[in-house]
């Protein structure tokens, strides 16, 4: 398959992420991100052809909120598209913007993901996705202790718990360098033992400290055709490829667990068609949708196709720290900030900032030529992106 034309990311804006953005309403919060993205790209709304919008309606209970948000998105008189896919929404919006520009329909597209979780009930909203007859009684929203139990089974309780806390504290140290992040707790490694015992338990071994936040926030990104991107930006982040992999609602309906994870499946396919044989050396930074420390740790193994305890060692050795050999979530990740409809977009946006060299205090110290970003949502759905510093070749993939 041949891509029609290249698409570059030229502008990124993020509102401040917080548990309570009571001083702004939804369109005002979005407006913060849009203004910042336009400023970075050095353009105005007059240059934007199309506005792409997404979130999850049941969190705020606003039907087709792009209609109201027009006063904050700048979509008046523009073409628009609204796409939602649950937690993956933000990454799906990036995929949609990529298609809209690559197709030749538009030269410059503004994509916006947002959520104002304070205005609804997050776990109640997520629980509502399960089948009212077959699944809802078992639903605990995004709160699950299953992965923690599995890691403890495999590697023993002491090592597993310690690694999960190491992951958590590394992410907080990253968030401390990102002034937009919601939870910046200032954790130190000597607090690990105390937190592992005293943080409130949610489900099984999943404790409050392990879990992602519920945030208010918006993210905006500006995408441009190769020609425009080169004019607007000295170093755009180029979209090399992306893949979307969903899976059935009922986890075991097509066979018994364990089954292949969508993360591993997506990574295998994406790597194969882009000539990535050694992700740890060919990818310079990874922004992962990590809803909890346990999931984050476990998913390193899936995305990077690691064997044995390699993923645990990466955490224990601080390889995933900003200064490490394979930096993961220099932004602080989802555990620090989680405005759900924006969250997956923030992953791609942060990966792009790393390539553009504009991540500020959380810029990784090594050269970033290729970055990966993942979105997660639904019932273990994956959207996986590869961004590059060099302009991708438009030749046949696969």
């Amino acid at each position: 398959m041949k891509k029609n034309r290249n698409v570059g990311i030229v502008g990124i804006g993020q509102s401040v992420f917080s548990s309570h953005r009571e001083e702004v309403n939804q369109p005002e919060m979005i407006h913060e991100a849009v203004v910042e993205a336009l400023e970075m790209a050095g353009i105005t709304m007059a240059d934007v052809d199309c506005v792409v919008h997404g979130n999850m309606e049941l969190f705020e209970m606003v039907h087709q909120p792009d209609l109201w948000h027009t006063i904050g998105t700048g979509a008046w008189g523009k073409e628009t598209l609204r796409i939602t896919t649950g937690g993956t929404t933000g990454a799906t919006l990036v995929a949609a913007a990529d298609h809209l520009v690559a197709s030749g329909l538009h030269d410059i597209v503004l994509a916006i993901g947002f959520e104002k979780l304070q205005e609804g009930h997050t776990t109640g909203g997520i629980t509502n996705m399960a089948d009212p007859l077959w699944g809802r009684q078992l639903q605990t929203g995004a709160l699950t202790g299953m992965t923690a139990a599995a890691i403890i089974d495999e590697f023993g309780a002491e090592r597993a718990r310690k690694a999960a806390m190491t992951y958590r504290i590394l992410m907080d140290k990253h968030a401390m360098r990102n002034e937009k992040a919601h939870r910046r707790l200032g954790l130190e490694f000597d607090q690990a033992d105390e937190l592992a015992v005293n943080s409130p338990a949610l489900v099984g071994e999943l404790r409050m400290i392990h879990m992602c936040s519920q945030s208010d926030g918006a993210c905006a990104m500006i995408f441009a055709s190769e020609e425009k991107a080169k004019q607007l930006c000295a170093q755009p982040a180029w979209i090399r490829d992306h893949i979307t992999v969903h899976r059935e609602e009922m986890f075991c309906i097509f066979g018994n667990a364990p089954v292949l994870s969508t993360h591993r499946y997506a990574a295998q396919k994406l790597f194969a068609r882009n000539g990535i044989t050694d992700p740890l050396s060919q990818i310079d930074v990874f922004e992962m949708y990590d809803p909890s420390s346990w999931w984050g740790m476990d998913w390193l193994r899936e995305f990077l196709m690691l064997e044995g305890d390699a993923h645990l060692r990466m955490v224990e050795n601080h390889d995933i720290a900003i200064e490490g050999t394979f930096p993961v979530n220099p932004s602080g990740g989802v555990i620090a900030s989680n405005p759900i409809g924006a969250t997956a977009m923030v992953r791609v946006a942060e990966a792009a900032l790393q390539i553009m060299g504009k991540a500020g205090a959380h810029q990784v110290p090594k050269p970033v030529r290729q970055a990966m970003a993942s979105g997660f949502g639904g019932t273990m759905w994956t959207v996986l992106f590869l961004l590059t510093k060099d302009i991708p070749a438009l030749d046949e993939r696969r």
């Binding site: 309606e57 008189g77 523009k78 628009t80 649950g86 909203g125 992999v245």
Partner: protein, 386 residues
């Protein structure tokens, strides 16, 4: 120019007032099975359906991630599916972009909506208003339409008997069209005596609350030709968002519709839209909207709707030979249903409503209070002269 995109097959469940006997997944499955049978396709990343675009709405379904519960029907178990949470015509807009980008060749578009499950007109669309200024005064799309109807009827002078004729015509047309629309004919007196819904809109002036699902197979040119003998090409797409607050707009001016039309026609290389189409399908949620949108498209001269209707302008321009949205399409699937009706005409499958030699058609979708957002699609078949 990037490659052409064609509609290869169309399928629809019956559109009913209350489709109680099927869950939304079941409605979608009926559509999917018909599409697979018509095309012989399977979900297959090499030579089958490579991605799915669904259309539904979380608040209508009262389900967070309304596409989550139908991964199997959308072929997305270890596959790609994305949901357009907007009016259904936008799924074709997005499918066009997805295929032209080169990312995939063959896409399933499948929308569902059960308006009967919620208070569609007064609760669901009420939730589209902002919680500070417009919700507290009880706004919903129906109330907004009432305001638009007041303004437009005053401006155009359209009479009550003309509105009644629009409704009678829509329902008679629906009977001749091959898509299963469960709607009964009415006589003009019934329309004029039907209760007031949002003055001046009477209950029979409004589209009936509808349940159903509708889908299409859409493919890149070379695939489309292999799948079916007479694909319908999506040659123009365009849409436009107007301002949110009604007071910020001239609600009879068709600003967004005109912009959407202009964009679609530019992409389809059409200079004079008023003469360009053999069939036109417009999303008329209320009777007054049909002449209003016809003015926006340029079929009816501005401010001449009264005379134009009396001179059979609707039949002369072959507008809504399917019955249109007034014959019943689920709220968020109106534009997709209109595109399906145009596609069937261009495929020669419009039954008793078939226009001989129909080569090019326009399909229109609308969303939001008093037509805040419009989508226009230009559809053509081979031999349309281009």
């Amino acid at each position: 120019m990037s490659r052409r995109v064609g509609i290869c097959a169309v399928a629809q469940t019956p559109f009913k007032r209350d489709y109680w006997e099927e869950r939304f997944q079941g409605m979608a499955l009926i559509v999917l099975e018909s599409l697979l049978e018509q095309t012989g396709l399977k979900f297959d990343e090499t030579d089958g359906i490579q991605a799915s675009i669904s259309v539904s709405d979380d608040i209508f379904d009262a389900r967070t991630i309304s596409d989550n519960a139908m991964t199997d029907v959308l072929g997305a178990h270890f596959g790609c599916e994305e949901k357009v949470a907007q009016e259904g015509a936008q799924a074709l807009y997005y499918a066009t972009a997805m295929i032209r980008s080169g990312h995939v060749d063959t896409v399933l578009v499948l929308g569902h909506c059960k308006e009967s499950q919620g208070q569609s007109r007064n609760m669901v669309t009420h939730m589209a208003f902002d919680p500070f200024y417009t919700r507290p005064v009880g706004m919903d799309f129906q109330a907004a339409a009432g305001l638009q109807a007041q303004a437009y009827l005053q401006k155009s002078g359209i009479r009550e008997d003309q509105l009644a004729r629009i409704v009678v015509r829509a329902r008679n047309n629906a009977k001749r069209f091959p898509l299963p629309l469960e709607i009964d004919p009415v006589d003009p007196t019934e329309v004029r005596n039907s209760p007031m819904l949002a003055d001046p809109i009477r209950s029979l002036h409004a589209y009936p609350v509808t349940d159903g699902a509708i889908g299409m197979i859409v493919a890149a040119e070379e695939r489309a030709r292999a799948i079916c003998p007479n694909p319908v090409w999506i040659t123009g797409v365009g849409n436009c968002m107007d301002s949110f607050f009604l007071g910020d707009r001239d609600i009879t001016a068709n600003f967004a519709l005109k912009q959407a039309l202009q964009r679609a026609c530019r992409r389809a290389e059409i200079d004079r839209p008023q003469d360009a189409f053999d069939v036109v399908e417009l999303s008329d949620l209320y009777a007054y909207q049909l002449p209003l949108w016809c003015e926006g498209i340029g079929l009816c001269p501005e401010n001449r709707a009264q005379d134009w209707l009396d001179a059979d302008g609707l039949d002369n321009h072959r507008v809504n030979l399917s019955g249109g949205t007034l014959a019943g399409s689920p709220l968020i699937l109106g534009g997709l249903s209109r595109a399906a009706s145009v596609a069937l005409q261009l495929m020669g499958k419009a039954g008793d409503a078939q226009i001989d030699g129909a080569r090019r058609g326009l399909a229109h979708g609308v969303m939001g209070p008093a037509g805040q957002f419009h989508t226009v699609l230009v559809l053509e078949r081979d031999g349309s002269g281009r």
